[in-house]
């Protein structure tokens, strides 16, 4: 149903060329001169409801994870009351926005994509500073945001045509898709541009109105997304930014006039949203729908016939890229015992070559984790491990929230590191008897997000493709970096509701199908 054939991913910046790196560093220096960004002051659209949804409850201050003394942005912090006001505004705007022609809404998304394309270096620099994303990942975040806008614009247009039904003489049957109402978008900090853009674009493109709460750590990135949409012609009331912590998020989830909740974040937060959304609030006349993308404990299976020259770098990239702070990141390696010693030795040596440093330094493989809380949590896991790490990489001295990239080998199977989502640069490697045993381990866990397989046997690849329970299986490659239109992203079990962002079915979560059957017989004649 999507016009996939004509879709092309936004090209990544070619950072291997010196001139491109120099451009990026200039954009970063330019952005630095504007810091701290005052969210209420940097807005473009005159009618942006940014400062006025803040109730004066306080301020959110985002800082550079690699240098917490550097303040990136200051945003007004919204209260529950402000969230309620925003929903009321969005509900009032729904009639007008949903009545617009689908092509008009698609054009807004496409214009927003164009605006982000024009500002892509600046946006990438913002993700570098506010989320501590190394350049290639920050750039990929911008590209993915652009991809979502383009892909869902095309998808929404396609959806407008409805679906064909069986037609009999004397009746005319149609199936059309309609927007649901107000959509609350609650987004994480780890893809501070791409993930909110995707959720918002899907909701807006299909005719819903949106109240968007970015993660408290990345308000400036969240603001940049809304700014682009407003500048592209989305009415201020149709997409509103609500910076804040838990309070406004909870208020959004509980609000009787919210129809859809699009959430990406932790399992605990996701499950509490599912619970809260299930209980109708007074005055609520619909069942809320929750689209949740949650955590994972992603495994990479390495069979005895794997090519370790390929497997080791891919595992390292999957586990330690962006300091492991991706829901798709690799947490466990399940390696065939015949090659376990060799793999572990090479993996350990490869981990030791990792360079941890400022995200803005092109020489850094990974940077600091997002904040103090994350730092403490991840260090707690490492310190409580039953065995000493097999390998670590050095971290810089200084103020950043740096966590030592750490590899554990053969931890007891009941270890916290083996079973819980650490969401940091920590990898554990366990040996298994064969692929069957590895699959049994994957099945025994609660998650089903991403997974990897290294094997050169077509039969093994086929077996794991069919038996694997993960939403995204990657064979003989890294398990992160899903591309819009190419690797629709998301998994089931406790990893989420399996919405498959960037795939042909994603928009269906934001709409309701209605069918009309009309009797076309008049006076015994089919007219």
């Amino acid at each position: 149903m999507n016009t996939d054939a004509t879709f092309h991913n936004e090209p990544l910046l070619e950072f291997r060329r010196e001139s491109v790196r120099a451009q990026a560093l200039r954009a970063l220096a330019e952005l630095r001169t504007k810091l701290p960004l005052r969210i209420s002051e940097v807005r473009n659209a005159p009618d942006t409801r940014i400062s006025d949804v803040g109730s004066g409850a306080g301020e959110l201050i985002s800082t550079n994870p690699a240098d917490p003394a550097e303040v990136v942005a200051i945003a007004p912090e919204a209260s529950a009351t402000a969230a309620g006001d925003a929903v009321a505004t969005a509900a009032a705007a729904f009639r007008e926005w949903s009545a617009r022609d689908g092509s008009e809404r698609a054009a807004v998304l496409q214009r927003a994509a164009g605006l982000m394309r024009e500002r892509r270096l600046e946006l990438a620099a913002l993700a570098v500073l506010e989320a501590g994303k190394p350049w290639p990942e920050a750039d990929a975040d911008v590209c993915e945001a652009i991809d979502f806008l383009e892909y869902y614009a095309a998808g929404a247009l396609n959806l407008e045509q409805g679906r064909p039904l069986v037609q009999l003489p004397g009746e005319r049957n149609t199936l059309r898709y309609f927007p649901r109402g107000v959509c609350a978008v609650i987004a994480p900090w780890n893809f501070p541009l791409a993930i909110p853009t995707g959720m918002i674009a899907a909701a807006l493109g299909t005719g819903n109105t949106v109240v968007f709460k970015p993660a408290e750590q990345t308000p400036a990135c969240g603001h940049a997304v809304v700014e682009a949409l407003h500048a592209a012609g989305a009415p201020a009331a149709a997409v509103q930014l609500l910076c804040g912590r838990d309070e406004p998020a909870k208020a959004l989830v509980a609000h009787p006039h919210v129809h859809t909740i699009a959430f990406t974040g932790s399992v605990a937060a996701g499950l509490s949203i599912v619970r809260a959304a299930a209980e109708p609030a007074p005055g609520q006349r619909h069942v809320k729908r929750v689209i949740a993308e949650m955590g994972g404990k992603n495994c990479i299976i390495v069979d005895a016939d794997a090519d370790l020259d390929d497997a080791v770098p891919a595992i390292v990239k999957s586990a330690f890229g962006f300091a492991g702070q991706k829901c798709s990141a690799a947490a466990r390696v399940l390696v065939h015992r015949d090659i376990a010693d060799e793999l572990n030795a090479r993996l350990a040596g490869a981990v030791e070559t990792l360079r941890v440093g400022q995200a803005e330094d092109f020489a850094s493989d990974l940077s600091a984790v997002i904040d103090e809380e994350a730092l403490t949590r991840i260090r707690g896991y490492i310190d409580s491990a039953a065995t000493t790490p097999r390998a670590v990489a050095a971290i810089p001295d200084g103020g950043g929230h740096y966590v030592t990239p750490t590899l554990f080998v053969d931890l007891p199977s009941d270890s916290a590191i083996v079973n819980e989502e650490v969401f940091g640069p920590v990898l554990s490697s366990e040996r298994v008897a064969d692929v069957e045993a590895a699959l049994a381990i994957v099945e025994a866990g609660p998650y089903g997000l991403t997974g990897g397989l290294f094997s050169r046997s077509p039969r093994t690849i086929d077996l794991v493709s069919r038996r694997g329970i993960v939403g995204n299986l990657y064979v003989n490659r890294e398990i992160t970096g899903a591309m819009v239109g190419r690797q629709p992203f998301g998994g089931g079990r406790l990893s989420g509701t399996g919405p498959k962002a960037g795939g042909p079915d994603y928009l269906l979560h934001f709409v309701e199908a209605r069918s009309v059957s009309e009797n076309t017989v008049r006076h015994g004649l089919v007219v």
């Binding site: 090519d307 040596g349 050169r456």
Partner: protein
């Protein structure tokens, strides 16, 4: 068999996958299982189907495995001169006897750790010592030992920077230069002390900037002013290789070393990789995508190199190709410029250009055979790449073996 493989892409894919997995199979049952699976996937290929049903027969499993394993070993011997430098000594001596010189390349698995970088550097050092010692016994071969610019070392090693360091980061050439500096420095000193030639290979575009910076930086050091004899590689398939050549020539003029610098001109061996990476990332391809433009560019660069030499730049041009037209063009242009015959070196790969090497040597011109050394496991990536090259539709060699008309083969690109 080669003809059947060239003509049948599915069979070709199946066989390459088999060659690729061969070292990872620890027993014959594993070997047969993989072969069977690859052939079964190559549906649509009649030959593959027939082979697949043969391989599937229980009674034939063991013999099939032995034959398949043997086939791979025999193939590898054609391309690989020996398991290490010592084992390759007779081959290299016999080559010298036949008036061909060599450069040795050490095959290995990817370097993913610093320990592996050290092992590779140690192998390089050992190889330099063995080559230096072995070659001292060889008879005099004036054409192979001097050009107009001075003596040419008998011992000649090609090194890969990506094997010297695990810090290969496309976006940070500094990581490459820092990671490989100490080890390359040690090898350059050893080569200088042993009077050997050290040639730095070029690999994928991801590492070009780092490798070039490192080589030029080190060779600019005062301690290397008088040696060793050293060189780098220029890849003609890169559309910007003209500017890269300029950079090298400018450096040579600004850093007059008494030891001349050698530039090996190749077409480039990572074409598929460069094109696929560019498509997947949405970049313009950094390489020529049609063969004729690439061949034309190769000839342009050949002329520029020889022009520079004729104009007095102390550069040693080495034209490395299996395309007879490219080789003939270089010879003719060199003669046209009135350069001495010894000024131009031609290079071919062991196993692919053996006949060409013999013919060049018989014509009294200098030819160097790029001779990989290493064990089968380590050599697999190299072997697969050579086989792909040899059987691709665009391959000069494939066209030559299939009996294409000489006029067509030598057509102006």
């Amino acid at each position: 068999m080669m003809q059947a493989v060239i003509g049948d892409p599915r069979l070709r894919a199946a066989l390459f996958r088999f060659v690729d997995v061969r070292p990872a199979c620890t027993n014959s049952a594993e070997l047969v299982r993989h072969l069977h699976e690859y052939l079964a996937e190559a549906d649509g290929s009649g030959t593959a189907r027939r082979l697949s049903s043969l391989v599937g027969r229980r009674s034939l499993r063991l013999p099939t495995a032995s034959v398949a394993a043997l086939g791979v070993s025999a193939m590898s011997r054609r391309f690989i001169a020996g398991a290490d430098a010592t084992a390759a000594r007779p081959e290299l001596a016999s080559l010298w006897q036949r008036r061909c010189c060599a450069t040795v390349d050490l095959l290995g698995e990817a370097t993913l750790t610093d320990a592996e970088g050290n092992v590779y550097a140690e192998r390089c050092a050992d190889t330099l010592r063995v080559l230096s010692e072995a070659s001292s016994e060889w008879p005099a071969r004036p054409l192979l030992e001097h050009d107009g610019l001075g003596p040419l070392p008998r011992a000649n090693l090609s090194v890969k920077v990506s094997a010297l360091t695990p810090h290969l980061r496309a976006n940070a050439p500094r990581r490459i230069t820092e990671g490989a500096r100490e080890r390359l420095l040690t090898l350059l000193r050893l080569a200088r002390d042993l009077d050997a030639h050290l040639h730095v290979d070029m690999e994928s575009l991801d590492s070009r900037e780092g490798i070039t910076e490192l080589v030029l930086e080190l060779l600019s050091l005062p301690e290397f002013e008088r040696g060793p004899s050293a060189g780098i590689v220029l890849q003609a398939y890169l559309t910007d290789s003209e500017e890269e050549l300029d950079r090298l020539l400018v450096w040579m003029r600004n850093n007059p070393r008494s030891s001349p610098f050698s530039i090996r001109l190749v077409k480039g061996a990572y074409w598929d990789h460069e094109v696929v990476a560019a498509i997947q990332n949405g970049w313009p391809a950094p390489v020529f995508t049609d063969r004729r433009s690439c061949d034309r560019h190769y000839e342009d660069l050949t002329r520029r190199l020889l022009d520079a030499r004729a104009a007095g730049t102390p550069v040693r041009p080495a034209i490395a190709s299996h395309n007879l037209r490219s080789l003939a063009h270089a010879l003719a242009y060199s003669d046209h410029l009135g350069l001495p015959e010894s000024a131009l070196e031609l290079q071919v790969l062991r196993g692919l250009g053996d006949d060409t090497a013999t013919a060049i040597a018989a014509a009294g011109r200098r030819v160097r055979v790029y001779s990989p050394v290493g064990d089968l496991v380590a050599g697999m990536a190299y072997l697969v790449r050579r086989l792909l090259e040899n059987t691709s539709n665009d391959s000069f060699l494939a066209a030559q073996t299939s009996g294409a008309d000489l006029d067509v083969l030598l057509e102006k690109p």
